[in-house]
Amino acid sequence: MPDPPTTLLQGTLDLLILKSLVAGELHGLGVSRRIEQITAGTFLVKPGSLFPALHRMEEEGWISAFWGDSENNRRAKYYRLTRAGQKQLEAETERWSRISWAITQALAAS
């Protein structure tokens, strides 16, 4: 039995979405599937949190959107990383490694 999907930490979703777009442009479902894949099924992002996050990040200027055709010829909205998004990803990655290192240290301490 797989573990129930872990609740996302505040701010983690942005990082995951940015990361999922590094390899190239994706539509909403693609982002969701990609996150599921790269986290080995730990995180399932529901549309209810995915779309608000995508739109917010677009307003922030980290990602940009355009309409394109999907692999089975359906019109879909695609997202791609902007330069600002690239920078944001670096910053977020840096921050995340610090936190994760700190938390690991804290848990290792006896």
Partner: protein, 890 residues
Amino acid sequence: MPFLSKTQSFFRNLFTTRRVDADLDEEVRSHLALLTDDNLRSGMSPVAAERAARLELGGIEQVKEQVREQRIGKWLNSFLADCRFAVRQLRKAPGFAVVAVLTLALGISINATMFTLVDAFVLSRPAVPDADRVAVITSVSPVQGFQSDATTVSVPNYLAWREAGQTFSEMAAADEFRSVNLASQGPAQVVHSAAVSANFFAVLGVAPELGRTFVNGEDQPGRHHVVVLSHDLWVHRFDSDASLLNGNRTIRINRESYSVIGVMPEKFRLLGYAAKLWMPLVLTEADKTRAAHKDRNLYLFTRLKPNVTLGQASAQFDALARQAGEAFPEAEKGWGAKVRTLPEFLVYTFGFRSGGAIMMSTAGFVLLIACANVSGLLLARAARRRKELGIRIALGAGRLRMIRQLLTENLILCLLGGGLGIVFAYWGLPFMRSGMNFNDAASSIPISLDWKVLCFALCITLLCALLCGLAPALNASRADINAALKDESRSASAGRSHTRLRTFMVAGQVTLALVLLVGTGLLLRAIGMIEHQDLGFRADNLLTAAVSLDEAHYKDAAQRSVFIQDMLGRLRQIPGAESVAAVSDLPATGPPRVTIQIMGQPELPANQSLNALDVVATTDYLQTAGIPLFRGRNFTELDNPTAPRVVLVNQQFVHRILKDQEPLGHHVRVDVAGAPPEWREIVGVVGDVKSYSEDSRLEPQVFEPFLQRPVSSFSFMLRSASDPDQLASALRGVVAQADPELPLDRVMSMQSVIANQRGGDQLFGGLLGGFAVLALLLAAIGIYGLVSYSVSQRTHEIGIRLAMGAEARAVLRMVLWQGAKISAAGAAVGLLLSLPLPKLFSSMFFSLNFREVRLFVAVPVVILLVAVLATYFPARRASSVDPMTALRQD
């Protein structure tokens, strides 16, 4: 550029909402399609595939709402949407909208109108740079009285204090209460003027519009024939003639030639002081003597040194006043000094604060009642909209979002009311202006709807929106979805919290209306009593005119005596003049107060000395004014300067000063400034006349014969058989014939003099009366609305009662009784709250009488009657419902 991107998004979200939404819709739908495709590929049947996709998505509309919820500028978007929705809702219920908007407009307009007065009289600031650093020093009289802590200062004190400048840089003095005869260009005219020290304008820091102000030394005798005009006088009397300021042209003032050196700008106006021209204050040797300490007529103006506080300045002048009290106990004992900033001084002496506070709070009460009314309307409406709200909550609207939506609706309602209120207030302005015409000082102040009034109106509008809307909004959004959807109106009665709120509002309205009615009733009664009081003389058919004899022509007492004898002789010849007299102060217009001494009694220090009002009158005064002579004799022509000094006194004098001893034969010394103290024999006792027509006070009074002290300022009085105004032109003609350069001032009937004195009261009373009626009306409408709504809510319950066999009369009694109980509770609270009102008013309005017990019975009776009446009609409707219809109703 994240910032740029955000700004772009903001405007895109705001202006292309439809496209943004269509885009979002398409995106979510395509997502659903992609999901379905995925599921199909994994081998599901088409139906199962779509179902699974929908389950995963979790509702297209909900997802879209979640996206919208965190968009940039979404608050503005949703606010605009709320506004559009609110306008639609209001248009659907025009009756409700009209009543609510009108009620609010009335409440807001009277508050805005009252605020124009507060703005003009309390908030306006003198056009003086850094006015808060200008200090005004006044004397504080040891005798308590109206503004006794803002009396004028004597010349010797001015001269002594001027030198003590530790806390202030320079001191100026002004005698604001002078008048001069102006006889250039046009008929002779009396003009209100002020005599000021040469540095007056410099201390205030105001510059003239034309020419210059006084320079040092121009207040010395011989150099003092210079004058500064007010803008108003320059425009209206001299046709804005700039050549007036040429050195070689002069104008005639008090029969002497003066050079006009400057014109002050229009905006230089000290609230309440209406000087039309300024002359140098010339001090004589007599002004510097010990005796001159009793002659107080100056206000002192200084600029405080930097870093000096008002408290430090006050301490210094307290000490100076104490020193004066020790050095000149006969005149200064017990007198103090008070330091105020210029704006504070002007507002205080204008004396609008108490009246303004009363009017503002009354208007505020009316507004509260109006808000309660609208709140009641909204509550009823909210209950009718429960199902709608229930559906919206079920569709995912949050509680806060619902409250915001309802508050937006109220805001729109209140803004409409506020806008209309401003229009009403604008229409009311001419009425206010005409009401303020009772004296020069008040009518010279512009009243307008300026930005401060508009801001105030906006603030109270927002406050109204909050007050009217919060209770219904909270109440409505608490609605239980299930109950609301299950057609809640079928249940027999409304929920408990609902009923409690309504009860509270009915009681609250009764309370507010009662306090307001008792308060205005007390004030109106007090004003009415004053208006109809017996003044002690006959004010009808009397023509009056003020005269000021100038020094140039009438320097000697003998000249003045000759003039008055001559004039009275001529005036008696006027056809229709029954009797003619001259008097220093018209009856009931507040004659000056002087200290007196009774022969044979010990001399008292200044702060305990006896005092009386002092009037100088000619022989026929008593007969002309219609004042009865009770004992002794009247003056005669034989009471001339060579005869023994005599006085008449009034009954109050006999009672309070002589303690009801035999008055005739007593000798009294009247200490008049500028005259040697002499003992005078009391030869007669006359009836009491009120000190002021707008006041109930009776005070000891002495009358001196004109021939023994011919004063230079006095009024003629002519009693006529018919309309006194018909004698006016004859009076003018006679005076012009005798002395063409002598102007007559304030030629009017005695009744007009009194009406002018009471002018402020009339406006005040009229406004208060209007507010009271409005409040009662609004409260009645409010109670009617709430009760009839609650009855309509209970139609089912009443139907059941009737169906079970209750009598219609019993139902009527029940509804009436419940309404009456609530109203009675409200009235009881109101009564309790209004108990301290007489005491409060007595402390605010000097010498008005507020003992009126009957009001405390009459007002509650009237209010309860109105409340019961407002309950009766809905109750009767309730008792006459047809049980079958009532039960079938949805």
